[in-house]
Symmetry: C2
Subunit: 368 residues, 2 copies
């Protein structure tokens, strides 16, 4: 990333009193703090349990947690064994393992034209060449990266036609990032792509959005033929996910109604999405965006040639932040102006004022 | 790894009642369980602290912990800023970041002829070519991997001549793995190699050996010119180390006398090393090994052509485990027979019986 833009984003994230529509953080109010504190206390309550919770574990992760994840995925029609799962240090590492398992420098990878910045950062670091899912490159692509249920940043799901086209290309490895899938506002997500093409799909999930991200617990479901390879890569890369974190998440899942929690979070974020959409309609009717079907954010597009860094500077001056669009674009293009607005973490009663400030900043920069 | 050998090692690790001289685990008895439980409770005690401890953090890690690590390294003569440090998901990930920062497929990497298995696994996964530190390949090597203070598995330190030779080769990137450095039995380790060649040394440290491994907190000190590149790689790879784990380690360091703890651990493991050495001398005088200067293990060499898998099977039958030597060798050679014996985790009063059993198993296999 451009260091100046990076510095701007970091200083904004640390600034108190800003209306923070950037960052894509889950709402810390929704972390089950007391329940997790109790789970930690339980795991560390006896010398024996504390001893093993603080010790090394196997690269593939804790058996009990893998069984729980497999049981959760079974409810979506995915019939897998715990052995198909490796517990990872968050979804991002699951993505890294998938790429390092089957990607080779110079390979073409297709993805949505706007996609998740840290995934794009990884693909570039690994020397992959990127193009859009609906481009002619799909034919020669080795890899496709998709968020079929809820995309970051757009909050949209994969079109049925796109899904069919992906599945029709037998030579393609599909990386299915379901980080936000449980937060589809319409309810529990359907069958993952993995179920349709298990021999070439890597399915990624995480507890970061529906429990909390600070524990870094995610998972990768790999094609059965890559089980050993992924386990070896996991070991070579960082040995294992945190032992204690895994035990705590597993304990939480055992003792609480997770489906009920996720249903509540869906309603919570859906209400927030609605509030931000209202505020945008009212205070910035000149921008284009689509109502999100889930997730944490709205993706805004404009026809404006206003440059994003001056716009971000102006917005921060007004006291509101957003995520610059170039970070999300396969092309890294800074224009036309586009950006992500997150409704996940800021207080909803600041959304109207946030949008007013954004509109004011935009008019100011556009006028120059 | 050979799947049969892998299965054997894993079944042994799970077997109750075995005298476990394999695995290289720190002693769980020495984990500061109560202190860590209190630190977790403190971090999660108020909604505000719990909220940020369970939230996302920056890729480089928590500022306070980085400052504490920098202060610790300053006592070894390393003058660095917290900005030179990235907190990693254990030392293994620090190694991965260093390799991914400067290594390229096909590069030569030199290391001790017997070295740390998961490092070798990483180097192979990244397509590096391996040769011994004292081979002619040093001249064309791009990378050197060393554990200058305490090597795993030998427990020896780098010879002064080797140190000079490494430093003399200006084109060489040095990866300095100090995972066991604090456990040099003679006392606090001296100046890291980083201090001599900061522009091309990656220095790796961890809390896994001196606090506990299950939290997965390690660090990488990189050459200043690679600060941004490493931070971006960390973000692309897995976003960040666990937020809560970092806060807990930092809190522990603030409230306890860490130097005193480390000094106690040195004595603890030194006594165990001595006990295992005595047992080996007495019950298996026909094997070669050197008294370790630190760490968790003794590396045993033989002139025997006995194959390691049958020997391991026989040892497990006798009720004792060890780590097969091929895992540690750059060449992956299974003969002559060599192996690692760990004194770190098993009860010292089992060492004599463990060595008797090993000797018995060896005689049994050798006789065939």
């Amino acid at each position: 990333m451009d260091p100046a833009l990076d510095a701007l984003i970091r200083s904004a994230a640390r600034r108190e009193g800003l209306i923070g529509l950037a960052g894509g953080l889950p709402s810390a109010r929704q972390f089950p703090k007391r329940a997790l504190a109790e789970a930690f206390a339980r795991a560390l309550s006896t010398p024996a349990s504390a001893g093993s919770a603080l010790q090394y574990g196997w690269p593939e992760g804790q058996d009990r947690l893998r069984a729980q994840i497999a049981a959760g995925l079974a409810q979506r029609g995915l019939k897998i064994a715990p052995a198909d799962i490796v517990i990872t240090h968050g979804a991002q590492q699951a993505l890294t393992l998938a790429i390092d398992c089957v990607g080779r420098r110079g390979d073409w990878l297709v993805a949505d034209e706007v996609s998740y910045p840290s995934a794009l950062q990884l693909f570039r670091a690994r020397g992959l060449r990127l193009d859009a899912l609906d481009s002619s490159k799909l034919r020669q692509a080795r890899l496709a990266y998709v968020m079929p249920v809820v995309s970051n940043p757009t909050g949209q799901s994969l079109l049925a036609a796109e899904r069919r086209r992906l599945l029709a290309r037998n030579a393609l490895f599909i990386i299915e990032d379901d980080a936000y899938a449980e937060l589809a506002f319409a309810g529990p997500p359907g069958r993952p792509l993995w179920a349709e093409a298990p021999e070439r799909t890597f399915h990624i999930g995480t507890f970061s959005k529906v429990l909390c991200p600070g524990l870094r617990v995610g998972w990768l479901v790999m094609p059965p033929r890559f089980r050993q390879r992924v386990r070896e890569l996991k070991e070579a890369t960082d040995l294992q996910a945190g032992t204690l974190s895994q035990i705590v998440v597993s304990d939480y899942l055992t003792r609480h109604d997770f489906a009920e929690r996720v249903a509540r979070l869906r309603r919570y974020y859906a209400r927030r999405a609605e509030r931000l959409a209202e505020a945008l309609s009212k205070h910035a009717p000149f921008w284009r965006w689509a109502e999100p079907a889930g997730g944490f954010s709205i993706w805004v597009e404009t026809d404006s040639e206003v440059a994003e860094t001056p716009f971000l500077r102006a917005a921060l001056k007004e006291g509101v932040s957003f995520d610059p669009g170039s970070l999300f674009r396969l092309t890294q293009a800074t224009s036309p102006l586009g950006f992500r607005l997150c409704f996940s973490a800021a207080a909803p009663d600041t959304f109207a004022e946030g949008c007013r400030r954004l509109a004011r900043a935009w008019r100011r920069v556009a006028r120059r």
